[in-house]
Amino acid sequence: MSQRRWVPARAALVVLVAILLQISLVNELRIADAIGDLVLVVVVAAGVTGGADRGAAYGFAAGLAFDLLVDSPFGLTALTYALVGYGVGVVATALQRTSGWWPVAMAAAAGVAQAVLYTSLGILVGVDYPFGDVPAIALALALVGAVLVVPMEHVLWWVHGAPEADRLEVVLR
């Protein structure tokens, strides 16, 4: 019970630290002329460890906070992160695998999905994001996501307690 009481505070702390590191450090570390996204990694890890609901909730909350600090249309990051977090959660639950190479593959796929989704929805609401930038952005998001998702899973386990993988295994047994 006492563990659960701290979950919201820990979750907020993780999202806040990820956003601050993103805008003060990660945005300067360019890969193939684009930058990785630490906040997206948190969202993906949330989806992998906690399923669709947790992925979507983290995506919406983290995206909304991030939207306050960027010059892109307000709410667009919240929308795309929520969709990506939800999608990752649905796939992770269906595959019933939250360890090994699956999170890495899902994080890479989520990076590509985020790049395409954000550009497409941006264009839909009237911002002329060039589609030519998508491959470089997708590559950077996929690489950073693939590298950092496993350590980030451990951070999410610290927030929410026992790994969802263990719970799934118990259920399956």
């Binding site: 003060s24 300067e28 909304l64 060039p130 930038d133």
Partner: protein, 275 residues
């Protein structure tokens, strides 16, 4: 193994999507509450961001050392060549500088002249892949107001699009949302330049007939027409290519910006306000 989430989960997701879409619609209407909250967030985060940025600078430097090594090597060779050329051209340059100063004085260019200026340091680059804005260390306390043009000695950088007490955000010329009225330095033909993203040339929708030749390298400056958000004569870029616009009725120009917005350390805000 069906990929099908529970109905409750789908409902909750639908609520989040609707909430996000509502926020996007509200944000697009530039509602004051959203603007105020964003400015408040920028005010709170800016000092923390600066502190983290200082602490993590060794990481950044190490990264650039690894990733940009070949670029640095080429840059080093290029600079060495430039130093040699500069030494040889020193005498001629002094004369050229005198002529340029005389020319500026005689033409009384607003860009070079009497618009009050505030020099600011760039404290942060774009915060995401879809951001085309930088942060500077001057704000409303220094007299900055949203909409003011931002330049360097090389030409137009962008304009202030958010200002708090001690910081401001500058929308760069490369932002797809950026628009500026321009004219060709040679003929005075007018057009509207718009950003096309990082590293891309600006596109100018001009009023020039498609049959009119426009040479590559032709200078483009801000038009400063009535109530313009920018003073006239600020250098923007040079024409790289031309093509027929939609319908074939006018020319469309690609213009390479004069200022490399990825390499900015200091900028100057012109305290110019439209109309």
């Amino acid at each position: 193994m069906a990929i099908s989430p529970p109905t409750g989960s789908r409902t909750r997701m639908l609520v989040l999507v609707l909430a996000s879409v509502t926020l996007v619609v509200v944000g697009l209407r530039d509602v004051p509450v959203v603007r105020d909250v964003r400015e408040g967030a920028a005010t709170v985060v800016s000092p923390i961001e600066g502190a983290i940025s200082t602490v993590t600078s060794p990481v950044r430097n190490a990264w650039h050392g690894i990733i940009d090594y070949e670029d640095l090597q080429r840059e080093n060779e290029r600079l060495q060549e430039q130093v040699a050329e500069a030494e040889a051209a020193d005498i001629g340059q002094t004369d050229a500088e005198r002529q340029l100063a005389d020319l500026s004085a005689s033409l009384n260019l607003p860009f070079a002249g009497d618009v009050p200026q505030v020099t600011a340091r760039v404290v942060a680059g774009p915060r995401s892949n879809f951001s085309h804005a930088i942060e500077i260390d001057k704000g409303t306390d220094d007299g900055l107001v949203v909409g003011m043009p931002v330049v360097t000695g090389g030409g137009l950088v962008g304009r202030v699009d958010q200002a708090t007490g001690g910081t401001a955000r500058v929308e760069l010329v490369t932002d797809p949302e950026f628009r500026v009225g321009v004219r060709l330095a040679t003929t005075g033909a007018l057009g509207t330049a718009s950003g096309q993203g990082r590293g891309e040339a600006l596109t100018v929708d001009s009023s020039i007939s498609p049959s009119t030749p426009v040479d590559a390298g032709t200078g483009v400056v801000t038009s400063g027409v009535d109530r313009s958000a920018f003073p006239p004569g600020v250098p923007v870029g040079s024409v790289s290519t031309t093509r027929q616009g939609p319908g074939g009725l006018s020319l469309e120009l690609d213009v390479d910006p004069l200022v490399d917005v990825d390499q900015l350390s200091y900028v100057t805000v012109l305290q110019w306000q439209a109309g």
